[in-house]
């Protein structure tokens, strides 16, 4: 399995340096945390990794492959998947259809076969839907398979987004504030899901506000403030770092 490595990554929006010189590694099979106050640039980092934003400087590598310049769909094919801070489901589609679209990178039938209806394409569709049902089963969401995704409760929508990301069979999974707005019980449940995913060899990057949640799950934590990496280490080390305390709580006069 491959690590995701960011080296000296910066992003400039006009005169604003939103992210400066970030170095970070997301190893496989572990949950890595990325924390920081509002506006620190966490989502900008995720958007750069997934190819939605171009880097100003620096490089991003997945294993041996340089994905700094790759477009969003190429990054997905390389094995990086994500969820969004503000949940983004396909609202008209059912839960099952939302998950099945996650299998897009696994489609094997050619465009021609799909256009004229050759057996390779016609047989593939029910197979993907079957795999989608298995995934729903694994996440305990089978009973919602045919629900329009836009009508589900918040916590369930989060799960659908998670399943869709897992459906791509990623090497690296980026979770942008996955437990925002959840209570502790729901968050702990989801935390168990993350542990399982990491145990299966996926490298997870957990972007969070909820420091307690990060402490429970991560071995390595990075702290971003005003676009710069101000600390990294185990959760204990980071929590006692004066710079981190200052970033979150302010300094004494």
């Amino acid at each position: 399995m491959a690590s995701l490595v960011l080296s000296n990554v910066s992003k400039r929006f006009g005169g604003l340096l939103a992210v400066s010189d970030v170095n970070m590694e997301v190893p496989p099979g572990k949950i890595t945390g990325l924390i920081g106050p509002n506006g620190a640039g966490k989502t900008t980092v995720v958007n750069m990794i997934t190819g939605l934003l171009k880097l100003t400087t620096g490089s991003i590598k997945l294993g041996d492959r340089d994905i700094s310049e790759a477009e969003a769909h190429e990054v997905a094919f390389a094995g990086v998947s994500r969820t969004f801070q503000n949940i983004r489901l396909l609202p008209e589609a059912t839960v099952l259809e939302n998950v099945v679209i996650g299998f897009h990178v696994h489609v094997r039938s050619s465009l021609f076969a799909q256009l004229v209806g050759l057996p390779s394409s016609v047989r593939e569709t029910p197979k993907l839907f079957e795999r989608g049902r298995q995934l729903l089963e694994r996440f305990g969401m089978s009973r919602y398979a045919d629900h329009p995704a836009g009508g589900l409760a918040y916590g369930h929508q989060r799960r659908v987004e998670m399943m869709r990301a897992v459906a791509t069979d990623p090497k690296i999974l980026l979770l942008d504030e996955p437990v925002a707005g959840m209570n502790d019980v729901e968050a702990t449940e989801l935390g168990d899901v993350f542990k399982e995913l990491a145990a299966s060899g996926i490298g997870l990057l957990l972007i969070e506000h909820n420091i307690r949640f990060v402490n429970q799950l991560c071995e390595q934590v990075y702290v971003l403030d005003s676009g710069a990496m101000i600390a990294s280490g185990t959760p204990q080390e980071v929590m006692h770092n004066p710079a981190v305390v200052a970033a979150y709580l302010g300094t004494k006069k």
Partner: protein
Amino acid sequence: MMNLVYTYQPLFDYFLLAVGFAYSQQMVLRAGVFSIGSAGFASIGAYFVAIVVKDHGMNAIVALLIATLLGCVGGFLLSIPLARLRGVFQAIATLAFVQIVVSLCLYFDELTGGPQGFNNIPKLVGTWHLLAAVLVTIYFMYVISRSAIGRAFDALRQDETVGATLGISIRKYHMIAFVLSGALAGFFGGMQSLYTFSIEPEMFGFTFLVAALTYIILGGRGTVTGPIIGALIMSVLPELARPLADNRQFFQGILMMVMIAFMPHGVFDGLVLHLRKRRAAARDKLFKEAH
């Protein structure tokens, strides 16, 4: 009885042509591309077929195949400069394309007959040909909608950023949508030529593209049945509104506004969504009673 058939046969023929153009329009809208360029491709197909069949005696089937290919190439070429545009900007840019085609047809009057139109085209297409063409098109539309291409289109329409992060190349699939839409418009444009004896540039102008959009807005963007329903409503409505005589257009307009306001997904797609919600609610109730 036979009288009734003869009276309504032209209406049915125009309905079939409308279904063809409706599918061309739906193809792009389904992928989230707000192109209204179908009229332009239909015009290209129609004039090409008319000219080569009448003036050069080309075989009609070969001519139709080339018209389809011209639509593909046209769609491909148009998709390149428009790749960065979205929504209303796409609509305006493709409208400009339609206007260019209309004015070229007016300008090259030696070839196209200009504003007088191109007349005396041999009538080689009848109801059965149109019906066969529509059935084949429905087959393709069904196959595509069940394939990974159809799923990619649905994803891009609803949220293209999500689609891209799941591996769907926006540029590639928008291009496919343009190409397929162009192919359908070029083909049915050619069919119309061989059906109507004469064509003129304005036949494929603003009225045409508004009609094509209306089929989809009324019928639905996401299903194979939607465009058929939309075309059916637009073909039958003027007949039903006949007693209203001079006020016909007025009432037709009102009815359309009401339908769009209350069924924004279109009559058929709206029905599918509604049934889906009802079924989900019923299953929820069963589940709760069981626990």
